[in-house]
Amino acid sequence: MIEVKNVTKKYGSVVAVDNISFKIENGEIMGLLGPNGAGKSTTMNMITGYVEPTEGTIIVDEYDIEKKPKKAKKQIGYMPEGVPLYNDMTVKEFITYMAQIKKIDKKTRKEKIQQIIEKTGLEEVEQKLIKNLSRGYKQRVSMAGALVGDPPILILDEPTVGLDPKQITEIRNLIKELGKTHTVILSSHILSEVSQICDKVIIINKGKIIAIDTPENLENKVTNKNIVYITVEDNNDKMKEVTKTIKEITKIELIKENSDKTKQYLIESSKDTDLRKVLFKELANQDITIFEMKKADVTLEDAFMKLIEGGN
């Protein structure tokens, strides 16, 4: 469990993090979202004890990070932004070094290191020098460094930046897997990633928290209408007339005419009504063939943009 209470961080007169408070329960995956310079990394650095908050307290698994740093830090596996690594070490040396400075019991150390190497898929490169690895592997080595010793809390600062799509999926799956047994905080500015992985999201802008909620709730919060995209074959051009008979429709708009003579419309209704059933029946009655019908998803992206703009 992590508890952040009224934490402020100032750099001179610049306020990087402004009086934030939140709580992360055990076993939760929490996403920290925000534009560049919003204070995500600063927040993470404060939780890991790398940076001291100007005001406020941070409690990591019952230990105050200021008063009992050793115990608190032992609970945390941290993967910093930009994956700092010792380039002249081999992968195995690095993971062993991390295990040593994290004071992992000597008896189980070797075994644990081997487990981590397997878990992160580093067996093939374990004897290679880190400086010769590709970005994706470096990311995994950094992840392995955070994971070694199995700390109950994982803090991952932008874990998928700079990876190719396949690697991103792999890392995401790994995080999901870890989330079952660990408390995870990850920061990202890739919103789809956060909505896929996280149980809860904190949106932070200019050092302030503007929203804490589940991704679904955040998406719902910002929507005030329901949009359906529908592609139909409508040779007699009856579409507009038909839709007039359905009262719930607030707006209809022709988006494009396809080369196969089908037309795509956008149909809007109020937030609580789902038109798909009514449309399906009505259009079938009028002999209009539906080729495709899709409810438009409100993405976390929309929610994010709206909240950030609202904050400004």
């Binding site: 790398y50 740093p69 700092p84």
Partner: protein, 228 residues
């Protein structure tokens, strides 16, 4: 702390730094050996330590050992890994200090071969030789701790290196300007040990200087947490 010592030692020997330190020192030592032993027929092992070439190269090779320690970690961001680990800052600093000292001790052990040569041809004093080695160790200890401090405040390793070299050179030339500085010169203090005396005053001064530098380094690293 053991992990830090091991890692630092390894990096001294996986990079050329460790070899350069030992090699360059031994070359300077050999030059002194040639002039004092072969040139003057002097068989004083201790005297070789206190000659210009050996003292002079130290000014350049000790910063080589220390300049990377903290400046490099900060530049690469690996400082984050260290400072977010359960290790205390004190242990991190002491670990790095001890690793550098191990290199000095290795060098001292290697100079014993010259002692062996001298034993073959003459009768050097063992006790004086031992006090000289102790003095040399203390001298390097104080200088290394200053180097660590310089590395902890400097933004990059080159600046850290230059700062330590300047410090050493200033210490060296100050006594030439005024007699008063002779008493505070770390180099002058070393002289007494080569005479076979373990001076309490000088030993305490070396240790105090070392402790001050180490404490300052720890404070700088702790303080950086709140201003970073």
């Amino acid at each position: 702390m053991w992990a830090i010592i091991k890692k630092e030692l390894k990096s001294y020997f996986t990079t050329p730094i460790g070899y350069i330190f030992i090699g360059v020192f031994l070359i300077a030592f050999s030059v002194s050996f040639y002039f004092t032993v072969i040139g003057y027929g002097n068989v004083n092992y201790e005297y070789i330590f206190y000659t210009s070439p050996t003292i002079f190269v130290l000014a350049f090779i000790i910063p080589l050992l220390t300049m990377r320690t903290f400046a490099e970690e900060r530049k690469n961001g690996t400082e984050q890994l260290l400072l977010t680990s359960p290790l205390s800052v004190t242990k991190i600093v002491l670990g790095k200090l001890i690793a550098a000292l191990v290199i000095v001790i290795i060098t001292e052990i290697m100079t014993l071969m010259y002692f062996g040569i001298l034993c073959h041809y003459g009768m050097p004093h063992i006790s004086t030789a031992l006090t000289t080695l102790l003095g040399f160790f203390l001298f390097c200890l104080s200088y290394i701790s200053f180097g660590l401090f310089a590395s902890s405040i400097a933004e990059n390793q080159i600046i850290a290196g230059i700062a330590s070299i300047l410090f050493f050179v200033i210490l060296w030339i100050l006594p030439n300007f005024n007699e008063i500085f002779t008493n505070i010169s770390l180099i002058e203090m070393f002289y007494k040990y080569t005479q076979g005396q373990i001076s309490i005053t000088n030993t305490v001064t070396y240790l105090t200087f070392t402790i001050t530098c180490i404490l300052l380094t720890i404070i700088v690293l702790q303080r950086r947490k709140s201003v970073k």
